[in-house]
Amino acid sequence: MLKDITLGQYFPVDTPIHRLDPRVKLVLTVVFIVALFLAKWIYSYALMLAYVVVVTGLARIRPKALFKGLKPLIIIIFVTAVLNMLYTGGEPVLVIWKLRITEQGLYAAAFMVLRIMLLVCGTFLLTYTTSPIMLTDGMEALMKPLGLIKVPVHELAMMMSIALRFIPTLIEETDKIVSAQKARGADFSSGNIVRRAKALIPILVPLFVSAFRRADELAMAMECRCYHGGKGRTRLHMLSMHSRDAAAIFAGAAILAGTVVLRSYGL
């Protein structure tokens, strides 16, 4: 049952967006978020929307997949919209009892909803088009300067990639433990919330014990394969920049510049 969980949500397709260097994609995502927060009026938002639409098209992602990602946020989006509508000052267009809805409020709500949706879609574009390994590699490369102030960048990246590697293994193990406990009469589906939480203990304890044992064995196997930290380590897939990456950086810079200019005109 747990096997159905999709993690990382990476859709492996061969498109120009998928082939972009992960460092470039990470930087572009940050640029996009900054630009989105600089956006002030319809024209800048239109630019942001155009960016998301174009990238989605290039990456051949079905719009449905993006909307699916938005689903869990519906309540937050709705509440934000209502609060923005009610608490923005200005000329009321509609008054119901004590609630005043203003024209500015309507605009603010619409922009806020658009902003949240674009923000989520923009970051999903990154995870949909970049495999977790590439993402980790990209982060490691970008954070490398932090190593100068003693941040263990390589170790963090290694931890993250091992965690990703063991997610399916541990999910499978959890399934097994659940079945084993059910076979001994454990009941996970009845009683109040406290009882159900307590029923999880016999799953978590063996899972943790086994995770620690795995970690111990993995550490030994890694040492046997000459792992001695990030020093002097090379990679099978070296990250390398291509002309498409330059084009992407140029596009990102243009969008950021465009937003700044539009903002200065209040557009």
Binding site: S161, A221, M222, C224, C226, G232, L236, H237
Partner: protein, 285 residues
């Protein structure tokens, strides 16, 4: 001696049971020479010290008393550790706990990456290693979707990508089904015969070492028997005294012999055993 890859001399090893408690010695003076290019099986029941011994072969454990040399390098001096580990690779029981990456080829690349080879060299080593274990077609798969036998072959490829002169396998088939076991044993044989890699196979399946060059039986932290498979397995009673069984072929011949039939005990392979029994039936008829 030049053709010795691993040599131990009066090797003792103890584990501390827990803090403040007495140490328990599990290896009591092991003296061994392992010849380069040979296929050595190490047998022994649980707790006989065979896994502990194996971990001394690539400096995962260090001797309390005595010495271990790997192609002339003393395992107890720390500057040798990396060179020793690339000379003697180690494969463990559970394939899941040795695989580091989400993609087969990335995992096989792990060791050469650690050794700091340039990208082209890593690519070549990864491809060669995957071809040697016959998993090249699966190089872009996710390891967790493979069968146990395939995973274990990936783990072996991950070790031979270092181009070691020797690999030590600590019960590599214990968690596999019979089909996966056959796959792995076949792969190990190829590595030994075709690539000339010294193989030290620790197991408690007798059938896996009938074609070895040499079999060592461990008991209570000592070398109990040491010889060719035919020499070792024909001593059925001596094996049983340390809770080991002869391979099914020998066990059958042994029973026939008890019935008063004159059969040799050293027909270890099923084909040889069948031939012996066939000849016997013909003779009787």
């Amino acid at each position: 001696m030049d053709d010795t890859i691993i040599r131990t001399e009066n090797l003792h090893h103890s584990y501390a049971a827990s803090e403040d408690e007495l140490e328990i010695e599990v290896l009591h003076g092991i003296d061994l020479h392992v010849k380069q290019g040979s296929f050595v099986g190490i047998l022994g029941h649980n707790g006989s010290g065979k896994s502990t011994l194996a971990k001394h072969f690539n400096a995962v454990l260090l001797p309390d008393v005595g010495k271990v040399w790997v192609s002339g390098m003393d395992t107890s001096s720390e500057e040798n550790t990396l060179d020793i580990r690339r000379t003697v690779g180690m494969v463990f029981q559970n394939p899941d706990n040795q695989i580091v990456a989400n993609v087969v080829e990335e995992d096989v690349a792990f060791a050469p990456e650690n050794l700091g080879y340039p990208t082209e060299e890593i690519r070549k080593r990864v491809d060669d290693a995957l071809k040697a274990v016959d998993m090249y077609d699966m190089r872009t798969h996710a390891p967790h979707l493979l069968s146990g036998g395939q995973k274990q072959r990936i783990a072996i490829a991950g070790v031979i990508a270092m181009r070691p002169r020797c690999i030590v396998l600590d019960e590599p088939t214990a968690m596999l089904d019979p089909y996966g076991r056959r796959e792995v044993i076949e792969t190990i044989r190829v590595l030994n015969k075709v690539f000339g890699i010294t193989v030290i196979l620790i197991t408690h399946h007798m059938g896996e070492v009938t074609r070895a060059d040499r079999v060592i039986v461990m008991d209570e932290g000592r070398v109990y028997m040491d010889g060719t498979p035919a020499e070792i397995f024909s001593q059925v009673e001596k094996l049983r005294s340390v809770h080991l069984d002869a391979p099914p072929t020998v066990a059958l011949l042994y029973e026939l012999r008890k019935e008063g039939l004159n059969v040799p005990l050293d027909a270890l392979e099923p084909e040889d055993c069948a031939a012996v029994i066939g000849a016997l039936i013909k003779h009787k008829a």
